[in-house]
């Protein structure tokens, strides 16, 4: 048994190291200078250039302003997604109404449409709305998604007993009341997962913001950082430092909510 545990943890640890190694290397590069990146044998120890690199990033991009913008986008997108998706998922999971199955099949089918393909007309739509350059162009299109509704519907179906919904209705709760008092409290772990997923995706989104954000005061972090990646004479340590600085809030958010997610998932398992 002891040996089995050791082997198990050995394998898990190797996988963990492989996952963390590029992250560690980013740290190494952010504390060294660009020419150190291309040394052979490669350098694996921390250097002393971190302050210089951070200063270079702050000189070249409006880092904190962009981070503020990204925060606005990521928080509002996540809040809207959690609200709209859970409401729709709960409706799909626990109520019957005409057209329900058709609507759900349509929902599943929407996941098959590759979004990048519509970039050009989507930009024209934004221009027609007058949203080009505004953060609205990032938040509104992302405010509800099929993936989240699908994910939460599974959860609601398994974790909420129909009797509970009935009881709440008999107690005089309206539709919104049942949603608030029955659905939301029991869905916390699933919401935590969806929240993290949405927040990360929104934070790291690059393709669409790059197209639609034109106002230099309204850039998100990833777009602002992309200007560090000039076509010539790229200072890679600075790019890596910028990438690292942009990751810090994500790691914080993830660490906080991962706990919630772990706890919730276990609770859900016991109850289910």
């Amino acid at each position: 048994m002891r040996w089995r545990g050791l082997v198990l943890h050995g394998l898990l640890a190797i996988a963990g190291i492989l996952c963390l190694f590029p992250f560690y290397w980013t740290l190494v590069m952010a504390t060294n200078s660009t020419s150190d990146i291309y040394r052979f044998p490669p350098k694996f120890t921390f250097g002393s250039q971190f302050d210089d690199n951070v200063r270079a990033v702050l000189e070249n991009v409006a880092f904190f302003q962009s981070m503020g913008n990204t925060l606005v986008v990521a928080v509002s997108t996540t809040a809207l997604v959690l609200f709209f998706d859970s409401l729709a998922a709960f409706t799909f999971a626990k109520f019957r109404f005409p057209g329900r199955n058709v609507l759900f099949v349509i929902l599943l089918a929407t996941m098959l449409l590759p979004a990048q393909l519509g970039a050009v007309p989507q930009f024209q739509t934004m221009a027609a709305f007058g949203w080009v350059g505004s953060l609205k162009a990032l938040i509104i299109p992302a405010a509800a998604n099929a993936f989240g509704i699908f994910w939460l519907r599974q959860y609601f179906q398994n974790s909420i007993h129909d009797e509970l919904v009935e009881a709440a209705t008999l107690d005089g709760c309206g539709f919104l009341g049942v949603y608030r008092h029955v659905a939301l409290p029991s869905a916390r772990p699933a919401l935590a997962f969806l929240g993290i997923f949405t927040f990360v995706a929104s934070w790291n989104d690059y393709f669409w913001p790059l197209i639609v954000l034109t106002n230099p005061d309204h850039l998100t972090l990833q777009v602002a950082l992309s200007s560090l990646n000039r076509s010539h004479g790229v200072d890679y340590s600075m790019v890596m430092t910028g990438a690292l600085m942009a990751m810090v809030p994500l790691i914080i958010v993830f660490t906080i909510f991962a706990r919630q997610f772990i706890k919730g998932a276990t609770e859900g398992a016991i109850r289910g």
Binding site: L12, C19, Q116, E166, T169, T255, A269
Partner: protein, 311 residues
Amino acid sequence: MTLTAAAPPKQAPRTANAGRRRSIWSYWRFYLALSPFYLIFLVFGLYPVASTILLAFQKWDGLGPRTMVGFQNFGFLIEDSTFWLALWNTIVLFFMSTMPTLAIAMALAVMLHSAVRLKGVYRIAYFIPNITSLVAAAIFFAAVFSTNFGLINAALRGLGLPTEDWLGEPWGIKIAISTMIVWQWTGYNTIIYLAGLQAIPTEQYEAAKMDGAGPLRTFFSITLPQLRPVVLFTVIMSTIGGLQTFTEPQVMVGNNGGTGQSGMTVVMYFYNQAFFNNDYGYAGAIALSIFVLVLLFTAINWKLLGGRGRS
């Protein structure tokens, strides 16, 4: 878990499904609750993709007038060897990245499920690749696979094995790209599988143990069948993502896909035709083909894994 949409709920609450026939308007709350998604999808999803596909029947350079050309773009597409190559690359890359990702993720999830300590630490470690910036990851992997100064070749040299010109060889390029995708998505799938594993009632395992089933038999006779809906979910999500691979090859081997265009995927080809050659009509035809491809693969997955998936 139920994945088939057509399956009616076993016991829908009577309150919401009263016996008498109700007017459609009495359901307004439900439609209102669903409306945000469908509205957003119509305006920002369906319309843009539909008009891209409409372009498939037109000729447009992105700025000048549009002219209808019927099926001409599809004629070009059939003759275009680069398109078929891109299609082949996409499918090969999809298998090379999705299969290891899901297999490793499943193995890790099962191990993690049986490990008692440090679960939280591992979980965070495994999720880190998913939140690492793609730019940083791309620079890292390009360095790992580089010919003279790369880590992999350094290791091969250390073991006395012949080195490889990874990013200059058609297969090397595919291996490098899929490695990066596996790295980025394994942890994410591990966590999903783990959540699925934790939902399996422990009594089932105890019963199997009483029957004297070994770990392997338990895995195949209890764990896997119970996880079927979760597996289907990850397979479908990986299919949709994998067939749309774009960023990883683009940042690793450039817009043209490297030697023998071995890293050129269909979405990259779409992107090149639209934004570099300004041949939006042709790009629209490629877009349509991507849609058909995704549809086809999803249908295959559904058939293979769906079937008995209803709980």
